[in-house]
């Protein structure tokens, strides 16, 4: 169903009305901030990215044709803004940071866990991942990007994206379980 209020807000924003922009912002601020925060891994960068994303969105709002919901459109801009920044950072740091090689096979009994504390643990572990790992993991497992799409966005090969994903998952698992005492050699295909 068409969101009439949002359609009108977009129209007013296209006409340059600041109040309408603010209302659109308030409707979708959480969604945008969440995705850039997850991709950024820290609060300061996330705030910069959110500002960039919204500024970009309002600068090109006349290009919004209403094919998708405004929230979907601005979410896409946020992801692109974050990935562009990550690529810039990666040029300086090396996006394809390798996993440190420690085994990830822990005691399965230590996981699963549930509840707010565990979500916090996962959230913190996600923040600790190298940028490249975190980006690939989030884009693939949460945003639903294919490896081809991730490769395009991050400027890496499909095989690299797959490799990053497996390492990111293993690393996340290791961080969440804080390394089990019962370590079994898992090996690597490298």
């Amino acid at each position: 169903m068409v969101d009439v209020t949002e359609t009108i807000l977009v129209r007013r924003a296209c006409e340059g009305e600041l109040e309408a922009m603010q209302q659109l912002y308030e409707r979708h601020a959480s969604r945008v901030y969440t995705v850039v925060r997850r991709l950024a891994g820290d609060d300061d960068l996330a705030q910069d990215l959110a500002q960039d994303a919204w500024a970009n969105a309002f600068q090109k709002i006349r290009a919004f044709r209403g094919d998708a919901a405004f929230g979907t459109w601005v979410h896409r801009i946020a992801v692109n803004t974050a990935l562009t920044r990550l690529r810039q950072v990666a040029r300086r740091r090396d996006l394809e940071q390798s996993f440190d090689g420690s085994s990830t096979l822990g005691n399965p009994d230590r996981y699963p866990a549930s509840g707010a504390a565990d979500r916090l643990m996962v959230q913190r572990a996600l923040d600790k991942l190298p940028d490249g790992y975190r980006a690939v993991l989030w884009l693939h497992d949460v945003e639903g990007f294919t490896h081809e799409e991730i490769g395009d966005r991050l400027g890496i090969a499909v095989g690299t994206s797959k490799s990053q994903l497996s390492k990111a998952r293993a690393r996340l698992r290791s961080l969440v379980t804080e390394k089990s005492e019962e370590v079994v050699d898992h090996g690597s295909s490298n």
Binding site: E19, V32, Q47, L126, R169
Partner: protein, 226 residues
């Protein structure tokens, strides 16, 4: 026993084929458990809660917008104008209706002219599209806005002459706004993206909500509401 590699487990998690994996998983509880842990972790990731954006972000965004946009805070956008016009349309209709009931049968209502446009119908009737074009309807709305003021003054004068209170028009306004909502929706069924019709619908819904809220607030009160 040699366990599955991280790459193999990741591939299995995504449903990809891994040679010999099925047999290995059937025999190896460690790898089965590991795969299950990865699956649960992925679910945890997907269920991470949404985050609240720090308040200062909007201020920074607003500062980055072109100066021309920042200065347009107080401008009355056309949807607001349409909202006011829709209220006027509804009010003209219900004033005529309400006054007709309230006054003596032989006394002509101050607003007995037919009201064209979206609300020119009895609230109980099935909504119908107006015969006029949207441009004509908007022009008519503006004309009715002026009549609205006249009608209100006449109503108050009549009430003063009779020494009676002005009757509550809330219910009539609500019925009229319902008719306006239905008329807008009927029209939108044939042209869902029409911005003017969407604005009408939005304005009518907003006004109807306001009327309902005011009706709720005024229940039990001796104050008249108009």
């Amino acid at each position: 026993m040699v366990h599955l590699t991280n790459e193999a487990l990741s591939e299995l998690l995504d449903g990809g084929p891994v040679a010999g994996a099925e047999k290995h998983l059937a025999e190896c509880p460690v790898c089965r458990g590991e795969l299950e842990v990865l699956r649960e972790l992925r679910e945890e990731l997907r269920e991470l809660p949404a985050l609240e954006a720090p308040p200062k972000i909007w201020d920074a965004v607003a500062e980055r917008l072109p100066a021309g946009q920042r200065e347009r805070r107080a401008k009355l956008g056309w949807p607001k104008l349409v909202a006011l016009q829709a209220v006027a349309m509804a009010a003209v209709f219900v004033i005529g209706l309400g006054l007709g009931r309230w006054t003596e049968p032989e006394q002509p209502a101050p607003m007995d002219a037919p009201v064209p446009g979206l609300v020119a119908q009895q609230p109980t009737q099935e909504p119908q599209l107006p015969p006029t074009s949207l441009t004509d309807a908007l022009a008519e709305v503006q004309r009715l806005g002026a009549q609205y003021d006249v009608a209100l003054r006449n109503l108050e004068q009549l009430a003063a002459e009779r020494g009676a209170q002005t009757p509550s028009l809330a219910a009539e306004r609500l019925a009229s706004l319902n008719a306006l909502v239905e008329a807008s929706r009927t029209a939108l069924a044939t042209d869902p993206a029409n911005p003017t019709l969407n604005a009408y619908l939005f304005a009518a819904l907003e006004e109807r909500d306001a009327v309902i809220r005011q009706m709720g607030n005024s229940q039990g009160s001796q104050n008249r509401w108009r």
